[in-house]
Amino acid sequence: MRSFRDAFETFHRAPLLSALSVTTIAFSLFALGLFGLVALNIREALERLEDRVEIRAFVAEGTPPEDIAQAASDIASFPEVLRADLVTREEALKRAQAELGEFRDLFEGAVLPASIDLRLKPGQRDPATVKRVADRVKTYSFIDDVRYGEEWIEKLHRLRNIAGISGLALGLAFAVVSMIIIGATIRMAVLARAKEISIMRLVGATDGYIRRPFLVEGFAKGVMGGLLALALTWLAQSLINKYVIHTIFFDARVAMLGLLFGALIGLLGSAVSVGRHLRRV
């Protein structure tokens, strides 16, 4: 209770400094939030692209339809496979004509092979899995050829990995910056109360007792900074949605995680700062 009162008192006694520290924390987390938003939307876009990852296994001419149907149902039961559709020669031709639009006449009288078209489950669309499934499909004697756009899939994955790694690296960098800022603001609060702290120690207060209000303060500033950052990120996303491009926002769970992250940064920043001061005096 005393910790909360003392922490609140600091806000009351130095409102400008407190507002300034909450704002700096908010801006650090806002930068983090914006980057998170970009990463989230890239991921979302990539997932939409990945939905289109498809393996097409061409069937040799003259294969009995029952064999093809049996193979399609076998393949559909592979653990990685979402669905396996049988595409007859007629359907293949119709699809090609539809896809080519005004050049449909080119296919007049053409013969296209029948195929089994596979879609893989989400999370199973990485290059290695796609290749493994394609190789397995190839083992059917009546499968002539299997196409799945290896290069395209690999590029897609590389892009996704780069986005993920750079998001993580920048996120960590921003987290460290936020911690340093929180540490510095708490340090100012600690220095402002240096005399009080030295007297506390002199009369026998434990370090834990001295530390607690600062931890509460750091936590509160982290949460407030987090809330402000969340509001700013939401505002930025709304503006982007309105004027630039449709994007998605964090779901409630991620937003809560962001707030918790802010609180954690506040707590750690102040713990380091107070700890250092207490060791020094």
């Binding site: 005393r2 005399k195 009080e196 030295s198 007297i199 506390m200 120690r201 002199l202 009369v203 026998g204 207060a205 434990t206 370090d207 007792y209 001295i210």
Partner: protein, 230 residues
Amino acid sequence: MIRFTRVTKTYPRTGTAVQDVSLTVNKGEFVLLTGASGAGKTSLLKMVYLEERPTSGEVRVAGTSSVTATARDVAKLRRKLGIVFQDFRLLDNRTVEQNVSFALEVIGAPTGVIGGKVNRVLTQVGLASKGRAFPRELSGGEQQRVAIARALVNDPFALIADEPTGNLDDRATRGIFQLLREINASSTAIIMATHNLELIRRQEYRTIEMARGQIVYDSAESTAMPRSTP
């Protein structure tokens, strides 16, 4: 109660402050610690309340050893000691009462007992009527009385005073010294670093003189006068 055994304190930058000091202060004793500036008095006192730890040797205070004490042990020890400085070290934004009660609050004393204890010590130091005043509204002597009240409020077994009258005029000095005598009369040990010649010459109390980090005279062990007067 307070025992120094072959204690040496060396600071990395300024060198040796206390050298091979052995000393015992018994319960209820009144000890005057004298010596020129830089003789090691403050370092010695800091080792009593474990603000500093010896570089070698051991300080043992009420069962707490400088060799093994944890931070928590140090905090607990300080609750049993009262510490007073030349510069009073009061919180300017708190009243006299609040300065004194602060010492009880920060060690988690029950709220119910704080008021009574504060009144008792403020009466003891003669400031019962000034509880609501702020330190800046008091004279130097009165401020030191507040600091003493704060040091006493936890019923310490010893009061450590580092030049408590250094900033005071003669009249205030006499008043503070009289107060310390009264406190000592109720069996609280007093260790007081001082330059005050008048007090030292009285030979009423145990006097220890330090020079260059060593004890050069201890009236408890010698009948001779201090070798030098500060």
